[in-house]
Symmetry: C2
């Protein structure tokens, strides 16, 4: 049976998953591929750790270049993560005519074009199914399954840590900090959770999805990014009263000739399917002009799910190697010379409904002052909840606006936050309840 | 720009959708494929109907063989449906070395192996993404996205008509017959709804999914099939009381070395994601050993969604034609000589929990008689609801059993249905609330 030889850089959680699946499902993978996938070399600084799988000592090396320079290796699987040295190793691999599989979303979101351009020139494949949505085959769905569609919008819950924390806060109560600490204890959040809870990881993944869905370049700086650390139990409670859940959503839409792309806590109708996505699960809703709304749901991270995605790329590229059909599908789904520059709409031009929670002194005239400023800025109010009880000295006044311009909201909030009767910075949560 | 020429057999709803999408999204499809898809010929008996799209008169023909015999046509798209003459036209097309795209689930479920075998021998591709789940790219997800997994189970809501009727009954009330009539008026159900409401269409689609997921042959007769026409508002009400929804599910599982495959109304926990799939939407939950649970959701039928799926196959095969890589992925995902014969577990060996609704005369001793027969057949009862009120002369007694063998349930019900105090045939609904 023909053999496809792979080399792996980084033998951590996902790498271990890849090898485990390859061993466990060897028979069925061979029945499908008609060839055998052989692990030729694995590079990792840790050659001693017991990973619960039997790898011959001579397969392991501490030198990544030994993998990259091995002429027998067809596919280099980069699972080191981060920017450097991962970028250099990928560039070196492609330069030597090797196909590459990676799950490195941070790198692809920032250096993707450089890497894809080099792969295009060298005629090799680059697979990155594991970079978004863990085991959910979303990259392939966009590039191939929904290929006939012009994509209209993306709504994604694409960070398991943030979704786990928000789900816990919604179902069991608790403040962000406390729930985060528990998530860290259970291994669902990193020691430094910044990338996950501040929305940066979601923005990386959204940048990749935007490029695939719209065939366009996008810089990370063009994606407005806001995390969940400001979300309080009080906001979750008020959201419920209005019939909403709060999710950290990555959203991108085609709007005329420009694109909007943003990551922020979002109020979604409780009966929307994405509201039911709990815990570490991910879900991506893609609306295509022909297919209509679709949703792809599954585990967004972890050894075996991400391993499943990485292996799907290895098998896909193996099929291309066997059939001499590399670059059969371009990395971003679009022919390389057809990747466009599109206008990215600044967040100030966003028009949605807003949830605003003011912390004010309970005094006559406060409501009229706030609503006056909102009115002056063309913001009209759809509903108000004002409850008499004191919370840490302040009274919460909650408003849901009609559709308003983010620019106007920001201008109004600057004025409102400076009022002497306003005790804390106003909480703003964007609402998505139309065109979902 | 290179041209890929296609011919179409049948210019009905889905065919019109294919052409509409092709016209509407021509630019982006060319940007992705790097080639132009050209409609060379369309055969349909109706050459006059206004389909809302502009097709040159000379493209149309009433003679399917004119399409099949055209040497310039690379891909024949069969959208006639049904067994004959669709089968013959597909066979004739493949025999002439043409690639085929079809959405014909009835044909593939019964004659799939003959067709795939011929395609294998002739070295051509056959695409059938449109045959299951309308626009949901589920075929591709199983064959490619989840390729590294051994699939453990499939749970699918794969008939929009049945799901529409059950959703309406659950949310708005009404008897099956009345809701069906309204669905027919709205065009959501056919004049003869048998295939949809009796589960036959779901069984066709399940047969295709089983072959793909498990790499096995399966005959339609091996799939136990039961429709929704017996479901009454009373059962939906009781289901809610127990925390369940009722859905027409297509279920298949790997159980040791054999497979179970069945279509029937099923009680699902209300908080399970599939319970939230309403109206004409479809959703397919696939559990892979590596990826864990995944769900794919979208419109399961209709001009544009199914057109989207058919076009994804046309584009996929076009890429193979351009790269001379036909049969890069085998039709069922497995190498043709690795398709297995697997044991199909008869429904009598099923072990699940059961919902049983007895219609009895309200008389002392009836409950003890029924539970006595259940006990004699090794069926133990988890909960009982007996309410005093008379419904059309009979009193409903509802029981939920612990896990029991279907064989025992059937034996017990035969005895119970023959009791003089039992006025109507007992209603049985299978429950799935474990291992979901």
């Amino acid at each position: 049976m023909r053999e496809i030889k792979i080399g792996m850089l980084g033998f951590g959680t996902v790498g271990t998953g890849v090898i485990k699946i390859l061993f466990q499902n060897q028979t069925s993978i061979e029945e499908k591929l008609g060839a055998r996938i052989v692990i030729k070399k694995i590079a990792d600084i840790d050659m001693e750790r017991d990973r619960g799988i039997n790898i011959p000592r001579e397969t392991l090396t501490t030198d990544c270049m030994e993998v990259i320079d091995d002429p027998e290796i067809d596919i280099v699987v980069e699972l080191i993560g981060g920017y450097e040295p991962a970028r250099t190793y990928i560039i070196e691999s492609i330069s030597r005519g090797k196909n590459v599989v990676t799950a490195n979303k941070a790198l692809l979101a920032t250096k993707g074009l450089e890497i894809f351009n080099l792969a295009y020139k060298k005629g090799v494949d680059i697979g990155f199914e594991g970079s978004v949505g863990g085991g959910i085959p979303i990259i392939r769905a966009v590039k191939e399954g929904l290929v006939a569609n012009n994509i209209l919008s993306i709504y994604g819950i694409i960070n398991g840590t943030a979704n786990y924390i928000l789900s816990k806060m919604a179902h069991e109560g608790g403040k962000f900090k406390d729930v985060l600490r528990k998530a860290q204890e259970k291994g669902y959040a990193e020691a430094d959770p910044t990338l996950d809870v501040e929305g940066i990881d979601s923005a990386h993944k959204l940048a990749i999805l935007v490029s695939l869905c719209f065939g366009t370049k996008i810089s990370l700086e063009d994606i407005y990014t806001e995390g969940i650390s400001q979300i309080s139990p009080l906001d979750i409670k008020f959201a419920k009263e209005f019939g909403y859940s709060i999710k950290l959503l990555a959203i991108a839409k085609m709007e005329g000739n420009s694109i909007s792309a943003r990551v922020h806590p979002t109020m979604l109708p409780q009966n929307h399917p994405l509201s039911a996505v709990d815990g570490v699960f991910n879900a991506i809703a893609i609306h295509g002009d022909a297919v209509g709304p679709t949703i792809f749901y599954g585990r967004g991270a972890g050894m075996m799910p991400t391993g499943s995605a990485v292996l799907s790329d290895i098998i896909d590229i193996s099929r291309n190697i066997i059939n001499k059909s590399q670059q059969r599908v371009p990395p971003l789904g679009y022919q390389w010379n057809r990747i466009k520059d599109m206008k990215i709409k600044p967040i100030e031009e966003l028009e949605v409904r807003y949830y605003l929670r003011f912390s004010v002194i309970d005094r006559p005239g406060v409501l009229s002052k706030i609503s006056g400023i909102l009115g002056d800025n063309n913001i009209s109010i759809a509903s108000v909840i004002q409850k008499g009880r004191q919370i840490e000295g302040a009274v919460p006044v909650v408003m849901i606006t009609h559709e308003a311009k983010e620019r106007n909201i920001r201008r109004a909030l600057e004025l409102i936050n400076n009022l002497p009767v306003v005790l804390e910075k106003t909480i703003l949560i964007r609402i998505e309840d139309r065109n979902l």
